[in-house]
C-alpha cells in the first residue's frame, strides 16, 4: 500500500464518479420539478458520440463539449415535447429516449469504431497537474471540477433562491402552482432541458476522458445508476455528492479486480456489484420512513390543469 497506489486509486475513483455525479445532478433538477426522465442513459450516449465526433472532426475539444451539451439538451427537449405538451406517459417516453440514444449513437458511431482521440487534460499547469502528489487535487479533467461546482451550485439554487423555491413548488403541487399563476409547463421544460444538457456533458466525459476510444454503448448502464443515485440521495444535493463517490469506489473496485486478476471472485461478480449495491441501497432507503428524502409529490404525474 504505497502512497502512489493510494493516490492512483483516489484519482481513479474521482474520475469514474464524475459522469454519474453529473448525470444525477441534472436529473435531480428535473425530478424536483416533478418530471422523471428515464432517458438519462440515452442522453448520455448522445453526448458521448457528439463530443467524440466533433472533437475528432474539428480537433477542438471545447467545441466537442459544447455540441455534446446541446445534443443532450435537444434529446431532452424531444422528451419534453412528448411528455409535457403531448401528454405522453413519462416512463415509456423515457425508455424510448434511451433506446433512441443507443440507436443514434451506434449509427453515427459506426463511422468511428476503433478510432481514438486525445483525452482532455487538466486545466492546471503541468507542474501541479503531473506532480506525484498534487495531481490528486490538480490533475483531473475539467469535467471533474465542473461536476463538483455544479452539484454545490444546484444545492444552493434549490434551497436558497426564489427560483429554486418555485421549482420545488411546481414539483410538490403543480395544480396549486398553476392556480397561483406560475408557468408550470415552461418551468418543467427548462428543468428537463437543463437535465439533458448536463447528461450530454456526462456522456462526453466518457468518450473524451475516461475511455477516448470509440466503442458501442460506452456508458454501460451508468445512466441507470445515476437515476438510482437521485432516489437514494433523497433528492438532496449534499447526499448526492456523497452517494456518487461511494459508487465510484465500487466501480473502481471492479476495474481493479479485472486488471489485477486476483480478486477472490470472478471479474463478473465485481462487474455486477454496482448494480446489486444500487438495489440494496434503494431497498434500505425506501423502507426507512424519513421526513426528508421524500420524493417531490408530483413526480411522474402528468400535469392536467382544470381551467
Amino acid at each position: 500500500m504505497t502512497l502512489t497506489f493510494i493516490i492512483d486509486a483516489l484519482v481513479t475513483v474521482i474520475g469514474i464518479t464524475t459522469p454519474i455525479l453529473l448525470a444525477a445532478s441534472g436529473e435531480l433538477v428535473v425530478e424536483k420539478s416533478g418530471v422523471i426522465n428515464l432517458g438519462v442513459e440515452g442522453m448520455m450516449l448522445v453526448g458521448t458520440i457528439a463530443g467524440f465526433a466533433v472533437t475528432f472532426e474539428t480537433g477542438n475539444p471545447w467545441l466537442g463539449i459544447l455540441v455534446a451539451t446541446l445534443a443532450g439538451a435537444t434529446a431532452a427537449t424531444i422528451f419534453a415535447v412528448l411528455v409535457l405538451s403531448l401528454g405522453a406517459n413519462q416512463v415509456a417516453t423515457g425508455l424510448a429516449l434511451t433506446i433512441f440514444g443507443i440507436g443514434l449513437s451506434s449509427l453515427i458511431g459506426s463511422n468511428y469504431v476503433g478510432i481514438a482521440i486525445d483525452p482532455v487534460e487538466s486545466p492546471f499547469p503541468d507542474a501541479l497537474a503531473n506532480d506525484s502528489f498534487w495531481r490528486l487535487i490538480f490533475g483531473h479533467s475539467p469535467f471533474v471540477y465542473f461536476a463538483i461546482v455544479l452539484v454545490l451550485a444546484i444545492g444552493w439554487f434549490i434551497n436558497k433562491t426564489r427560483a429554486g423555491l418555485v421549482l420545488r413548488a411546481v414539483g410538490e403541487n403543480d395544480l396549486s402552482a398553476h392556480s397561483i399563476g406560475y408557468p408550470v409547463i415552461a418551468i418543467r421544460y427548462a428543468a428537463v432541458a437543463f437535465g439533458g444538457a448536463i447528461a450530454g456533458i456526462a456522456g462526453a466525459d466518457f468518450s473524451m476522458v475516461i475511455s477516448p476510444l470509440w466503442a458501442e454503448q460506452m456508458t454501460a448502464g451508468r445512466g441507470w445508476i445515476a437515476l438510482a443515485l437521485v432516489v437514494f440521495a433523497g433528492w438532496r444535493a449534499g447526499r448526492l455528492l456523497a452517494g456518487a463517490y461511494f459508487f465510484g469506489v465500487l466501480m473502481a473496485l471492479e476495474l481493479y479486480a479485472k486488471a489485477s486478476g486476483h480478486a477472490i471472485f470472478p471479474s463478473q461478480f465485481w462487474a455486477a456489484m454496482p448494480y446489486l449495491i444500487a438495489v440494496i441501497v434503494l431497498a434500505l432507503i425506501s423502507s426507512r420512513d424519513g421526513k426528508d428524502g421524500k420524493a417531490p409529490a408530483c413526480l411522474g404525474k402528468p400535469f392536467i390543469p382544470n381551467g
Binding site: 424531444i78 412528448l82 401528454g87 459506426s110 446489486l276 438495489v279 423502507s287
Partner: protein, 361 residues
C-alpha cells in the same frame, strides 16, 4: 387559421387502432428523409427495411422466428402495462429462462425422452418468473420502483451469463471460444411444425395470445389488472389487492420472458455472448405499439420483426449500418407515444373572425 386542441368526451376507439398504423407510415416517411440526409438511397433503404421482408416469401420464416419471442414477451409485459407496472427487466428474465433451460439440458445431456423438452420449458419459465419476483418483493416490501430494480438485474444477468459461458459451462470442444456446448437433438424443438413451414415459436405465440385474450377480457383477474392501472384507490375499494397484482403481473411477464428465452435457446442450440439480443427491450416497444392488447401485440410483434429482418436486408443492399433497425424502433415508439394525443383530443381548425369587443386576441 389556428389549430386548437379539444378534449374528447371519450377516448376515440378509431384512433386507438389507427394511430399505430399512422405511426408506422409516418416513420417510413421520416426514414426516407433521414436516410437521404445521411447520404444513402432513402426510398430504397425504407423499401428494403419495411417491404422486402413482407413481399419476399423466403424471408417469412425469418420474420416469424423473430416475431415469436417478441410477441411472447410483449404479451406478458402488456398485462403489467395495463396495471401501470413496468417490467423493464424482461431482458434479464429472458436470459435467466435460457440459463435455466440450458442447465437442465447439460444435466441431461446423455439422456433421451419426451419429457426433456417440456422440462426445459418449465424450468425456463420458473427461472424467469423467479427473476421477476425479485423486483416484485422489492416493490411490495420495500417500495422500490420496479423500473429501477428490474433494470439493475438485467446487468446482473448479463454478468451471470458471461460467467457461466466462460467458466463452468464452457464448451470443452469449443477451442476456448466463450460459448457453451451444443444442445442435443432431443433437447431442441423441430424447425417447423409438422412440415407446415411455421416455426414452432410462432405457434406458441399464437396460443399464448389467445390465452391472454381470454384472461384480459373475461376474467376478474384481467378486470382487476385494468382497474389497478386506472384508479388504484378504486381498485382497493373494489376488493383487489395491489400487492397481489404486482406479484402476479411481474411473475407472469417473467415467465413469458423465460419461455421466450428457452425457445430462442432451442433455435440457436447454444449459449454465447451474443445471446442477449435485446428482445426484452424491443418487446416493450411491441407492447406499447400494440396498445397492450393481445391482437395488437401480435401484429406489432410481426411489424417489429420485419424491421429486424429488413435491417439486415438494408445493410446488404443499401449498405446502411445495422444499428439503424434499433433507431427506427425507437422512432416508432416516439411516434406512437406522440400520436396518443389524437386518441384523447380532437384537432379543431379555427377560421379566424374579427375579434369582438373585450375579446382576447
Amino acid at each position: 387559421m389556428r389549430l386548437r386542441l379539444e378534449k374528447r368526451l371519450e377516448p376515440s376507439r378509431t384512433m386507438l387502432v389507427m394511430t399505430p398504423v399512422l405511426s408506422v407510415i409516418a416513420i417510413m416517411i421520416l426514414g426516407v428523409i433521414i436516410f437521404d440526409g445521411l447520404g444513402y438511397d432513402g426510398p430504397q433503404a425504407v423499401w428494403e427495411l419495411f417491404f422486402t421482408p413482407v413481399l419476399d416469401v423466403y424471408k417469412w420464416r425469418d420474420v416469424a422466428s423473430k416475431a415469436a419471442p417478441l410477441i411472447i414477451i410483449a404479451l406478458g409485459l402488456s398485462l403489467g402495462n395495463q396495471a401501470k407496472i413496468w417490467n423493464i427487466g424482461a431482458e434479464g428474465q429472458y436470459i435467466l429462462g435460457a440459463i435455466g433451460a440450458a442447465g437442465v439440458a447439460f444435466a441431461t445431456q446423455s439422456m433421451t425422452g419426451f419429457w426433456i423438452i417440456p422440462l426445459m420449458i418449465l424450468v425456463g419459465m420458473i427461472c424467469g418468473a423467479f427473476y421477476a419476483a425479485i423486483p416484485a418483493v422489492l416493490r411490495t416490501r420495500y417500495g422500490v420502483s420496479e423500473v429501477l430494480s428490474s433494470l439493475m438485474f438485467v446487468y446482473v444477468s448479463l454478468q451471470l451469463l458471461s460467467y457461466l459461458i466462460t467458466g463452468p459451462w464452457k464448451d470443452p470442444d469449443g477451442h476456448n471460444f466463450p460459448q457453451t456446448a451444443q444442445l442435443t437433438d432431443v433437447q431442441v424443438l423441430p424447425h417447423e411444425v409438422w412440415d407446415s413451414g411455421i416455426p414452432p415459436g410462432l405457434l406458441v405465440a399464437l396460443i399464448v395470445a389467445i390465452i391472454f385474450y381470454i384472461i384480459v377480457s373475461r376474467t376478474v383477474f384481467g378486470f382487476s389488472v385494468r382497474a389497478i392501472g386506472e384508479a388504484p384507490h378504486a381498485a382497493r375499494y373494489g376488493g383487489f389487492s395491489s400487492n397481489g397484482i404486482v406479484w402476479a403481473t411481474l411473475m407472469i411477464s417473467g415467465a413469458m420472458a423465460g419461455l421466450a428465452g428457452v425457445l430462442e435457446l432451442m433455435q440457436l442450440t447454444r449459449l454465447n455472448l451474443g445471446f442477449p439480443s435485446g428482445y426484452g427491450f424491443t418487446a416493450i416497444i411491441v407492447s406499447l405499439l400494440g396498445r397492450s392488447h393481445p391482437i395488437g401485440v401480435f401484429i406489432a410483434g410481426i411489424v417489429l420483426a420485419i424491421t429486424y429482418v429488413g435491417g439486415q436486408v438494408a445493410q446488404t443492399v443499401v449498405h446502411v449500418p445495422n444499428a439503424t433497425a434499433g433507431l427506427f424502433q425507437a422512432l416508432l415508439l416516439f411516434a406512437i407515444l406522440a400520436s396518443d394525443l389524437l386518441v384523447r383530443y380532437r384537432i379543431r381548425i379555427n377560421v379566424s373572425s374579427p375579434p369582438k369587443e373585450g375579446q382576447r386576441l
